[in-house]
C-alpha cells in the first residue's frame, strides 16, 4: 500500500492511499513528489486545508471513487485544479457556484490528531510550509 508522509511545522503524519480505487490519482500525486510547497486553509470548503501546486495537476487522471463530502483525516485530490485536500473536520468540495466531485485518495493513519491541529492552525496563522513525500513504495 502506498503511503504519504506529510510534514508541517515539525509534525509528520502518514496517510495510506487508495491504490486500487484511485490508481490514476495515486500515480499523479506520486509523480509530483517530493513536494515542498505551502498548505493553506480552504476558503469555501470548510474544515480542511489545501495544497495547491501546479505539479499536482493532471488533466488525464479523472475523478476516481468520486466524493464531495470530507470527513476528518480524509485526503482528497482534484487533478484538474491540482488540489490535494487534507480534512481535519467536516468539509465539502465547493467552488464559486456550488459543489463538485473530487477523488477520494486516502486517509491519514498515523499522527492524525497532531496533523489536524496544524491544519486547523492555517486558519488563524495563515499558510504554512509543507513537505509531502512518499512513505513506502507501491
Amino acid at each position: 500500500m502506498t503511503k504519504l508522509r506529510i510534514t508541517i511545522d515539525g509534525i509528520t503524519a502518514v496517510a495510506e492511499l487508495k491504490d486500487a480505487a484511485a490508481p490514476n490519482g495515486v500515480a499523479a500525486v506520486l509523480a509530483a513528489l517530493p513536494l515542498r510547497t505551502r498548505v493553506v486553509h480552504a476558503s469555501r470548503s470548510g474544515n480542511c486545508a489545501v495544497v495547491h501546486d501546479a505539479a499536482l495537476r493532471d488533466e488525464t487522471a479523472g475523478i476516481e471513487g468520486q466524493v464531495s463530502m470530507y470527513y476528518p483525516g480524509m485526503v482528497a485530490y482534484d487533478p484538474v485544479r491540482g488540489y490535494l485536500v487534507f480534512a481535519y473536520g467536516q468539509g465539502q468540495a465547493r467552488s464559486n457556484t456550488g459543489t463538485h466531485w473530487v477523488t477520494y485518495l486516502g486517509d491519514v493513519v498515523e499522527n492524525a490528531a497532531e496533523l489536524a491541529g496544524k491544519l486547523q492552525d492555517t486558519r488563524d496563522r495563515g499558510a504554512l510550509d509543507v513537505l509531502i513525500e512518499q512513505g513506502e513504495r507501491r
Binding site: R38, V40, H41, A42, S43, R44, S45, G46, N47, Q90, Q92, R94, N96, R123, D124, R125, G126, A127
Partner: protein
C-alpha cells in the same frame, strides 16, 4: 439625515476605506450604526469564499435575531450581518466572490454597508488573511459623519 449619508470607516493596519450604510434593511443598519465602534479580529472565511469575518458582542447588533433582508451572495465590497444564537453578531466583509455559507450549504445574512470607491488596499488586506492569518480590524463611524 438620509440613510445614504451614513458612512463608516473600516481599518486593517494601515489600510482603510469608507463604506456607506445601505437603506434596504434599516433596522439592521441602524443597530449596526449604534453598535460602533467595533474592534475585533478578522479571520478568513472557511465556507464563504473571498471574505473575512469578525464577531462582536456589541449591542444592539448582537441582540438581533432575524435576517431583515436575506441574501446569500455577498457582493464584493459589501458587509453583511448574520445573527449567531450565542449572542454575538457575525459580520462578513467580502473582497471578491463570496456567499454566506455554512457546513450544510448556503445560509442567509442581511447586507448593511457598501464600499465607497474601489478600496483596493483594504480589500487586499482582507485577502491577505488567507495566507498570512488573522489580524485586527476596527469599524468606526466616519469622523466627518454624524
Amino acid at each position: 439625515m438620509g440613510w445614504g449619508m451614513k458612512r463608516i470607516e473600516v481599518r486593517v493596519g494601515g489600510a482603510a476605506a469608507r463604506y456607506t450604510l445601505l437603506e434596504d434593511a434599516p433596522k439592521t443598519a441602524d443597530a449596526f450604526w449604534e453598535s460602533l465602534p467595533i474592534e475585533g479580529t478578522i479571520t478568513h472565511a472557511r465556507w464563504a469564499g473571498s471574505a473575512v469575518w469578525v464577531k462582536t458582542p456589541n449591542q444592539p447588533i448582537a441582540a438581533l435575531d432575524d435576517i431583515e433582508l436575506p441574501v446569500t451572495s455577498i457582493y464584493p465590497g459589501t458587509i453583511v450581518m448574520r445573527p449567531n444564537p450565542r449572542g454575538v453578531a457575525e459580520l462578513f466583509l467580502s473582497y471578491g466572490v463570496a456567499e454566506s455559507r455554512g457546513p450544510v450549504g448556503r445560509t442567509y445574512a442581511t447586507p448593511v454597508a457598501e464600499l465607497d470607491g474601489d478600496g483596493a488596499e483594504l480589500l487586499a488586506a482582507f485577502g491577505a488573511t488567507w495566507r498570512d492569518g488573522s489580524t485586527e480590524v476596527s469599524i468606526t463611524r466616519a469622523e466627518d459623519e454624524s
